[in-house]
Subunit: 406 residues, 2 copies
Amino acid sequence: MGHVIGFKCIECAREHRVGEVEYVCSACGGNLDVLYDYERISQRLSKATLAADHNLTIWRYRALLPMEDSSRVPPLTVGWTPIYDCPRLAAEFGIKQLLIKDDGRNPTASFKDRPSALAVVKAMEAGARITTTASSGNAGCALAGMCASVGMESVIFVPVTSPPAKIAQLQIFGAKVVLVEGSYDDAYDLCLAAGQHYGWYQRSTGYNPFMTEGKKTAALEIAEQLDWDVPDKVLVGVGDGCIIGGQWKGFSDLRQLGWIERIPQLVGVQAEGSSAIVDAVNSDGKVREGEARTIADSICVGKPRDATKAIRAIRESGGCGVKVSDDEIVAAIARLAQATGVFVEPAAAASFAGLLKMCENGAIKSDERVLLLLTGNGLKDIDAARRAVKEPLRVRPDLAELSKLL
Amino acid sequence: MGHVIGFKCIECAREHRVGEVEYVCSACGGNLDVLYDYERISQRLSKATLAADHNLTIWRYRALLPMEDSSRVPPLTVGWTPIYDCPRLAAEFGIKQLLIKDDGRNPTASFKDRPSALAVVKAMEAGARITTTASSGNAGCALAGMCASVGMESVIFVPVTSPPAKIAQLQIFGAKVVLVEGSYDDAYDLCLAAGQHYGWYQRSTGYNPFMTEGKKTAALEIAEQLDWDVPDKVLVGVGDGCIIGGQWKGFSDLRQLGWIERIPQLVGVQAEGSSAIVDAVNSDGKVREGEARTIADSICVGKPRDATKAIRAIRESGGCGVKVSDDEIVAAIARLAQATGVFVEPAAAASFAGLLKMCENGAIKSDERVLLLLTGNGLKDIDAARRAVKEPLRVRPDLAELSKLL
């Protein structure tokens, strides 16, 4: 890991050398940034070496990830998810280009396979036998699946309200599943306490500094897949704030390397009932914790654990925060699926709902290129989708009867 | 389409020129094989041209598919799904190599995106505005998604018993969904009648000769991804019989081109309650239609529509038919997920259950390499998965309470 210089606390700015800290700042408990030696990375990685690399997973960027060269990686192929150009929708909205990146195509059907794959690498490097995480669902499924693929045990804490498909997925991977009678925020606190008590490797978002690094791989892909001509705006649903923080980190790494000139404006989209980070961005920058409630379970967070990184991402990129209602999210699921053939879960649809709102408000100029980061497959939560559609026809197997109904 | 010579009926062996028939044999109504000019194909496609082709979708094989060079293809990226090596399982079963190909990674989360993408190409070539199919679920979801991606209308006939996730997926893509009060076999007959009555482009399995061609792309990938060193056996769940027939066609094409020397033994796995094809293979080769009943909805077929191709595939490849119980299928979902991190639906798990049965019976030799074609994501049917797992822990957010339970 000679390319990792150390860590820097995002709250008190104290720097730590590698090995001095495990998860958070030893001085103030703040979340950490991973610091790199970009000169050294430049000697090993270039646009040309990437172009010649046939490994179409996140590990093509391992020179830019906090891992040993010799590290084993889980066998499931993570990343390099497709980006689709949507010219009909772009024309409808009067913008230059609309791109969607379908991260529901990852192994366990969500974006969270990116950080969870890296978590398993770090757990193996640390010699851990058991890995744990708090999750609204997807992060846990991703960790459970990655652990199964390498024969590691996992203990996953989710709120009891997690969608049935996510709970089933956790169980089928053989994780020890702890349904917490409370919110994601409650599950998070219990997971942290249990992890410390039992000595499990802790993946939980924010607390584990490497999750930002796993999440940044989407930004690296966006840049490379678009031939280093990044979009003007990237919209993403925001819960804890780690995904949007990760996108900033990825684009920032590329700017440090001199491979891109600017970071896209990062737009954080939250549900009206779970909007602590957007509210902070739109006011004094201070997060006010409270109860969260939204149909978009993956971004239902009252106490966001990576808010500082998220706010930095939005502000330093010149982005903004947008709030959408649950009804807008539900409608966005159907509209996006019908226009593109991509079926997403509510938290991912939030980014599309945010785009619609920005277009209505004139917040996107006609010469702009916009990318939506779609973070989860719709099969993860079909109850939400069903709210968006009409009842199907139901007939006896008889053409005459069908003809009457059509 | 100069590389397509014509069609040959698999029942009466009559040959038809391109343009003479639309779907089935005009003489006897039998299903058709697509005939190719392999010399001509060889001039355009080689192992070397493929190795240099960066298009990692089924369209890398368009020179081997029944489509115009100029045909537009749906934008969703289909195919080139991962193959994972499972050395721990192989050691456990005492076989040389176990490979799994996860076709749940396709855009709508099943293998059926392959034929449905080609169906949309053929429908567009034919100038159709509306495309229809009968489906137990996955084929319909795939067609609906592909149609949405190109702005085409679809009408999908499924039995009312189709898993909720599949029905939700159909609806969200904006298909006109017809829930048929009956079996898949009933839905099939109604779809055929309605398609003829209304003049819709007909995708239904078996009847449309191009679906075998779309399905063969998995075999082409298996060969290429394994560097043209094909496995000894390929196991696949069988319903109508079109998937296994497609694998035979793909390997057969490659043998005709001289790129592989032998076709893997194709093993068809059916559920005990839906075993018309396996029963035919294991007796006089004649299919006895009847009622079907199994938890594996995707292969719940009493009147298999592509049985002749399936039986040919199994017999000509030196394969066999295997039957597994619903309990074995359910158990296989969990065992596979826990060993590999790949969560599949019941019909896909059937192939793994079939492997277990063959290993128990000594039907696989210790020096053999075996591949399982996993045809659908487990999120398509979580009720089946839940039958395989224990209830999760449920606790209040309190470490002391958790400690008592752990």
